[in-house]
């Protein structure tokens, strides 16, 4: 018998905690690449929630995994463009820290 792994709520709680950690990283870190990594953490939390719903709610069987696969594809596109932008800015400003990108303010 299983008391934890057979219920929906533990998976959702893990997903919520992972999303909160990712949101803290996105809001608090200075390095642009760490912020992108935090976005990946948040997207993975969403994936986990979608898969948990797909596994535990019979009418959503299959749809959870389909959504997760689409989210993975969009995350790959986002990482490609985001990292290319960071590298392009780094070539001009010589720093990956986002609070030093203040040309518009001067």
């Amino acid at each position: 018998m299983s008391q934890i792994a057979g219920n929906l709520e533990p998976y959702l709680v893990l997903s919520g905690m992972l999303f909160a950690i990712g949101s803290f990283g996105f809001l608090a870190r200075r390095n642009a690449i760490t912020m992108l990594m935090s976005i990946e953490l948040m997207l993975n939390a969403v994936n986990l929630a979608a898969l948990a719903f797909g596994a535990f709610i019979p009418s959503l069987a299959g749809e959870g995994a389909a959504f997760a696969l689409l989210i993975i594809a969009v995350a790959a596109a986002e990482a490609t463009v985001g990292l290319a932008i960071v590298i392009a800015i780094f070539r001009n400003r010589k720093t990956p820290l986002v609070d030093e990108y203040d040309t518009m303010r001067q």
């Binding site: 018998m1 299983s2 008391q3 934890i4 792994a5 057979g6 219920n7 533990p10 959702l12 709680v13 893990l14 919520g16 905690m17 999303f19 909160a20 950690i21 949101s23 803290f24 990283g25 809001l27 608090a28 870190r29 200075r30 390095n31 690449i33 760490t34 990594m37 935090s38 990946e40 953490l41 993975n44 994936n47 986990l48 898969l51 948990a52 797909g54 596994a55 709610i57 019979p58 299959g62 749809e63 997760a68 696969l69 689409l70 969009v74 995350a75 790959a76 596109a77 990482a79 463009v81 990292l83 290319a84 960071v86 590298i87 392009a88 070539r91 400003r93 010589k94 720093t95 820290l97």
Partner: protein
């Protein structure tokens, strides 16, 4: 001698213990990603987080997504992130000041978000099935039926999006010609 269904002294099943170990690894590695001073180590802990999450996907019966997670996230996106870290490492970047000045409000907002998630998940009746063990694996047939049935348009748009992202990423990361560099880059 067969293994007992329930681990002695704890009273939890084997899959419960597996879930607890995997989720502990996920959360600890995610904390290491967010709080680590060394950005290379952050990238490596991100790989650990994604790998442990792939294990949890397998427990949920979604082996196809776990495979995609390992291939795409660990194999492609993590390598991309590690390359970007190596391209943007500069010695002048202060290692000590890893956080913005808004770190306290950010921490408060994240803790509030986690509490809100916990309250919402605990108080909602999802109408979910309760399994005796981990959820039964449904295989890939329902996934394919959903992906190539009602979500076919989203699938096609995702492929176009990836193509445009590849072209856009290539254009953005291209070395600009000398007469196109602005005042900032000189």
């Amino acid at each position: 001698m067969p293994l007992p269904d329930v681990i002695p002294f704890i009273g939890l099943g084997w899959s419960d213990v597996l879930f607890l170990i995997l989720s502990g690894v996920v959360l600890a590695a995610a904390f290491a990603v967010v709080f680590g001073r060394d950005i290379i180590k952050s990238g490596l802990f991100l790989i650990l987080t994604l790998g442990a999450l792939a294990g949890i996907y397998v427990m949920l019966g979604a082996a196809i997504v776990a495979g995609a997670q390992v291939l795409i996230y660990i194999g492609a996106i993590s390598v991309l992130i590690l390359f970007a870290i190596m391209l943007t490492q500069s010695k002048v970047a202060p290692v000590k000041l890893a956080f913005q000045t808004q770190v306290a409000p950010a921490a408060l907002a994240s803790v509030l978000l986690a509490v809100l998630f916990g309250l919402a998940f605990g108080s909602t009746d999802w109408g979910s099935t309760v399994f005796a063990d981990t959820p039964t694996a449904t295989g890939t047939a329902p996934v394919a039926a959903a992906l190539f049935g009602p979500y076919l348009l989203a699938f096609e748009i995702a492929s176009v999006l990836i193509l445009s992202a590849v072209i856009g990423g290539l254009y953005l990361a291209m070395e600009p010609k000398a007469d196109e560099v602005g005042e900032e880059g000189q």
